[in-house]
């Protein structure tokens, strides 16, 4: 298959601006790896971009309300249902879910089934842990934390062909959140992390939708690798393995 961008055009990413969070760091990260990034709340620009990033810091209810106000709920669902990559970050992951308990019950976009719940009295080896969960934490392939699988025994690497491609189990990412998503279908979980004694879903994949509870654009060189892989994903027309093979041959 011939990639869409082989004539040198840089992939264009729309970063959805609904008035919340630091959109500039996501933009800088896109540009750093050679993608064009546009911060926008314009429907047509979101629909015409090669990929869409749904970022977000702040309260779930306010965010959903502002997505409705800007009339972006429909377009976002449309993009998610198409073949274009949609990338949710932090609150952007939570917004994809069915509903959240944050300050009352709020309906989300419902693109991925399952609720968003609060960390309840997390506890670590040195006593009770703080909420929000702020700081660096490892991400692991599903099952790894229960020692169900060793990294070497994967017949098929669950991160292959995803933006996490090439990262090792335990890679540190930067988190800032009090709530986490529980996908109804466990197959959706792309990585898990541990806060104290609780293992939670730290990233998910649903078709062309990828979402991270952490901030790849604030996670140093390893986080930038995720942006790099998003670019590769776009340049390979969605088929990462094929692209890798083509590069090798």
């Amino acid at each position: 298959m011939i990639g869409l961008y082989e004539n040198g055009r840089r992939p264009q990413v729309a970063i959805v601006d609904f008035g919340m969070g630091n959109l500039f760091s996501a933009k800088h990260a896109c540009e750093h790896v050679g993608m064009q990034a546009l911060i926008t709340s314009d429907k047509s620009r979101i629909l015409s971009a090669d990929a869409v990033i749904l970022p977000g810091v702040g309260a779930f209810g306010d965010a959903v309300q502002s997505l409705h106000k800007l009339d972006l709920v429909g377009p976002l669902k449309d993009v998610a249902a198409s073949e274009k990559p949609v990338v949710g970050i932090c609150l952007g992951l939570q917004l994809l879910m069915t509903e959240s308990q944050e300050f009352g019950l709020h309906k989300g976009l419902g693109i991925v089934k399952g609720p968003v719940v609060r960390f309840e009295n997390p506890c670590g080896p040195r006593g009770p842990l703080k909420v929000p969960h702020i700081g660096w934490n490892g991400i692991f392939r599903p099952g790894h934390l229960q020692n169900r699988r060793e990294i070497t025994t994967y017949t098929e690497d669950p991160w292959s062909g995803t933006p996490l491609h090439g990262l090792s189990d335990g890679t540190y990412m930067y988190f800032v959140h009090s709530f986490y998503a529980i996908p109804e279908n466990p197959e959706v979980t792309l990585s898990t992390s541990k806060y104290g004694n609780l293992e939670f879903c730290s990233s998910l994949r649903y078709g062309n939708v990828f979402a991270f509870q952490f901030h790849p654009e604030r996670s140093g060189p390893d986080g930038l690798r995720i942006y790099e892989r998003i670019k590769v994903l776009l340049q390979s027309d969605g088929n990462l393995e094929e692209h890798e093979n083509a590069r090798r041959s």
Partner: protein, 283 residues
């Protein structure tokens, strides 16, 4: 949870400065150079504090943040002289992820709740700058340690979290710049009385100071300046960095002599913390 190692860059005009007890600020070099060096060496976050903004009300920090944001991909906290929601909005737009507020919040505590509502609690860091009095109490100071407030530092810390602070930056002015170790009591008493993470600052001068403030002081993050800066300034000099007219740079020309402390790199500090059984990010 992993311990964050956070270089703290105090800024005066276009320069990185360092003093002792927030006084006698000496110019060490260009903050952009230091910031990039720390990012590349594994800093988990960076803190920028404009030392004179409260006094002069100027915003050179925005430009520094703007310039560094394009090549630094870890969280950046910016503080000093932020008075209004518009000031906060502007520095977030420049590329900061969080803001640290003190003076304006003490004058008008509602600023904390308004800012938390507008930008999210996790964006708002309240800066506790305390002086230990001879009777053992701690008083909150504003304006980079220049103004008394009459507020008890512990009560103020608890109140600011109730108002919506998502994190506290706790600086002991007595220890700041001395390299004699953190004020463990100040840090621990605050960390144990609030539900949000605490970044300890002021006093790091040796590897064991850093592990002490995490294990005994219960800090979630550790702000470090002198231990990194003097060493980095020497490199900076070797690279022929130029300096602006502002501030006291004579001592740099004569060769940098900081207070007596153990220079350490970020990887050395993290290796030490790991030896103490603490988790921290390696890259």
């Amino acid at each position: 949870m992993s311990v964050r190692i956070i270089p703290r860059l105090d800024i005066k005009g276009p320069n990185l400065v360092k003093g002792i007890n927030f006084e006698g600020l000496r110019v060490l070099g260009k903050p952009e150079y230091f910031a990039k060096h720390y990012y590349e060496n594994g800093a988990d976050e960076l803190i920028y504090i404009d030392a004179v903004a409260s006094l002069y009300g100027r915003n050179s920090l925005n430009h520094i943040i703007e310039r560094t944001a394009q090549e630094i991909f870890v969280p950046m906290v910016a503080g000093g002289g932020l008075r209004t929601l518009d000031d906060i909005r502007e520095i977030l737009r420049a590329g900061a992820d969080k803001v640290a507020i003190n003076t304006a919040a003490v004058r008008r505590p509602e600023l904390i709740s308004e800012a938390a509502r507008t930008f999210g609690s996790s964006t708002i860091v309240v800066s506790i700058e305390a002086i230990r009095k001879s009777d053992g109490t701690y008083e909150q100071y504003t304006d980079y340690g220049r103004e008394r407030t009459g507020l008890d530092a512990f009560e103020w810390a608890i109140r600011s979290v109730e108002l919506g602070a998502g994190e506290l930056l706790v600086t002991s002015i007595n220890q700041e710049g001395t390299g004699k170790g953190f004020d463990l009591e100040l840090t621990r008493r605050i960390a144990e009385s609030v539900s949000v993470p605490v970044i300890a600052s002021g006093g790091a001068g040796a590897l064991n100071h850093v592990s002490d403030v995490v294990i005994q002081g219960k800090a979630d993050g550790v702000g470090i300046a002198s231990m990194f800066h003097y060493n980095c300034a020497r490199h900076c000099q070797l690279n022929g960095d130029d300096f602006h007219e502002e501030g006291n740079i004579e001592f740099l020309r004569k060769g940098v002599q900081g207070p007596k402390l153990q220079d350490a790199s970020i990887p050395q500090i993290k290796a030490h913390l790991r030896n103490c059984g603490l988790d921290c990010r390696l890259q």
